[in-house]
Amino acid sequence: MSDETATGPAGAPRVVLVDDHGLFRSGVRAELGTRVHVVGEAEDVAPAIELIGRTLPDVVLLDVHLPGGGGHAVISEVKRDHPDVKFLALSASDAPEDVIAVIRAGARGYVTKTISTADLADAIKRVADGDAVFSHRLAGFVLDAFASAPGTDAVKPSFDPELDQLTTREREVLRLIAQGYTYKEVARELFISGKTVESHVSSVLRKLQLSSRHQLTRWAAERRLT
């Protein structure tokens, strides 16, 4: 991670922290130190929207669970006026439907709160650069969401069938990420460049956000029931 710290505070991404636990915010802030420039903190949906609109950060580090509407409420509200602000979802929650909801609202990635500081700083930088960040858990959720009962959706294809399924390559990439591979390791394993891995992941993110596949919503709904 030394290359990131080398960029110094001047080139560091400007970050807003949104989390309802003050202790967690101060912890993250202290750990990230000079790797990012924290321009503000908020602990609720409405103040977060106001703060983001005022400071226009590069990346918003957003808790999935927030009082007053949840993380996806913040994203959909901010995206309307400031489509350039990028979101990285951060959560202790494992509930797949919550994570998928935030991603579909427009977050560029999802990491769990158990992530190491170096990895978090790296993820923030990736999101700031416009890439997608998939933790191994998110990769698992996405594979699950796109894989469940493949035959049933063929009857009712959405308007753009290409959005409804993952390519073989995308699936391979996701599988490796789910196994804990870093992007670099994925690239080496599949004999492709790092940039290609990035583009596969971004493409998966796009499909996840744009697919009108009701498979996806039904999958989430089934999860909620169990």
């Binding site: 493949p150 599988r175 196994q179 804990g180 169990t226």
Partner: protein
């Protein structure tokens, strides 16, 4: 009163607290039985309220048999009033729980009994209220009332007042109402005692029952006027209806009673409708509040059992980072599985493949102290081939934990329509697979052999300094039915 007598006394339950000797309706002290029941433990220290010690040995065998049979139906608890589901005294819900009927059924039965017994069921209900203790309490209201001499006097006074009134009414008229009213002389006396001696919450229940009448005297002229109007309307309807009914004689037409009934029914609805609705609503609100309170208590106890205990342990072992991490991991996993998968901690039901993988995670983390990151995609029930796969995966994970020296092990399991695969990967030391001596059975037998015997395969990739990756793949035995598109493909060909 053709109800069966209920035997229930201190002797039968094997409990020692002073309890009522009997309750229920119909019959008297003559059928009270105390005897050698299954749980009999000798005479209780406190005799029943009657002051008679139970006498062992005079219960016939059939009674004991029958009693056992009864107990099997209900909740196995002694008969108690259930305050949480009561309309009045909680007798109906208590009887229901005791005998395994729904409270509503018991309530209907009681109402029918009240009708066909000319109202005699009501004083017996009140008697039960006096003599049966509330669940979780051993003192009856009657026991308390014994010391309430003023209450006894008041009860007798009220009862005799009503009796005199009824005598007068009976002398003036031969109305059938008097038949129903006579038993209520006893009810009034009993209710007076209950009112004076019941605990606060039971008084609140009684209060709720009579509340609408109080609105007559309550503040707010509008409310008072509305109540008066309603009562007046009800009185007129009732009077007309009853008059119609009582004016009937043998020769009148068949249709006529119908009109009378309609009037009476309308009068009753007008009189009691709002009151009834209010009781039903209060009951529902109360039930919801109780459900919420129980849920809160459940969560609190679980959080206490798990999270707080773990936090305490972590504080005590703060000098041992490895132990702290292990504790925190174990707790995190447990909490997750409870919050997001709805599984109680310690609930080890390994019937699904994903659950089996998580079981491996739990065991390896607990035994070897190495965090295991698990991602599962899809799920299916376990058959013998999949349990072989699970055993192989466990072996691979344990190997990684023991030998690799990696800080974390990744396990990825995916259930696909025609196969199930599991990858166990670490970034530890790694080794040269070719250099492993042939007599080292670990990998060869327990992983490769196990997989190939069940038609699967195991691929091991490792190099010194590169970490190790074991990929296990097992075809699904029952792949046919899970592939809905297979037949159509066949036709296309």
């Amino acid at each position: 009163m053709n109800d069966d007598p209920h035997w229930h006394g201190p002797g039968w339950q094997g409990q020692r607290g002073p309890g009522p000797g009997w309750q229920g309706q119909g019959g008297g002290p003559g059928w009270r039985h105390h005897g050698a029941g299954p749980g009999w433990q000798g005479p209780g220290p406190g005799p029943g309220w009657q002051g008679q010690p139970p006498r062992p040995g005079d219960a016939p065998d059939w009674a004991a048999r029958r009693y056992r049979k009864w107990r099997q139906r209900g909740d196995g608890e002694p008969l108690r009033r259930h305050p949480e589901d009561r309309l009045a005294g909680g007798i109906a819900s208590g009887l229901g729980a005791w005998r395994g009927y729904s409270p509503t059924t018991v309530r209907i039965a009681l109402a029918v009994a009240a009708l066909i017994s000319d109202g005699w069921a009501v004083p017996f209900y009140v008697l039960g209220w006096l003599l049966i203790p509330v669940k979780g309490d051993e003192t009856t209201i009657a026991q308390r009332a014994r010391h309430d001499s003023r209450g006894v006097v008041l009860a007798l006074a009220l009862a005799s007042l009503l009796a005199v009134f009824l005598f007068l009414a009976g002398a003036l008229n031969d109305a059938g109402i008097a038949t129903f009213a006579w038993p209520q002389v006893f009810s009034i006396a009993g209710l007076t005692l209950i009112w004076r001696n019941a605990p606060e919450d039971e008084r609140a229940a009684m209060h709720r029952l009579v509340q609408p009448l109080e609105s007559l005297t309550a503040s707010g002229a509008d409310a008072r006027r509305a109540t008066r109007l309603r009562l007046a309307g009800a009185a007129v309807l009732l009077a007309v209806g009853l008059g119609w009914l009582f004016s009937l004689h043998g020769g009148t037409q068949l249709l006529q009673p119908l009109g009378g009934f309609l009037f009476v029914a309308a009068g009753i609805v007008l009189l009691l409708g709002p009151w009834w609705l209010r009781i039903a609503r209060d009951l529902m609100v109360e039930r919801q509040a109780r459900a919420r309170a129980e849920e809160r208590a459940d969560i609190a106890s679980r959080v206490h059992d798990s999270v707080l205990q773990t936090l305490a342990l972590i504080q005590r072992r703060s000098d041992d980072p490895q132990a702290v991490i292990q504790l925190a991991r174990a707790q995190e996993r447990e909490l997750r599985s409870w919050l997001f998968e709805g599984r109680a901690p310690g609930d080890a039901d390994v019937s699904s493949f994903a659950e089996g993988i998580r079981q491996i995670q739990r065991d390896v983390e607990a035994r070897h102290g190495v965090p295991v990151e698990v991602v599962t995609v899809g799920d299916c029930p376990i058959d013998e081939h999949l349990s072989a796969l699970l055993a192989a995966a466990r072996e691979a994970t344990v190997n990684a934990a023991k030998w690799s020296g990696a800080a974390v092990i990744s396990v990825f399991a995916e259930v696909e329509p025609d196969s199930v695969s599991t990858t166990v990967r670490d970034r530890g030391k790694g080794f040269d697979p070719a250099a492993v001596p042939g007599d080292r059975k670990g990998v060869a037998e327990s992983i490769r052999g196990r997989m190939s015997r069940h038609g699967g395969e195991a691929i091991l990739q490792s190099a010194p300094g590169e970490g190790t990756k074991v990929t296990l793949t097992m075809p699904r035995a029952a792949a046919g039915p899970t592939k809905p598109q297979a037949p159509s493909e066949g036709q296309r060909r």
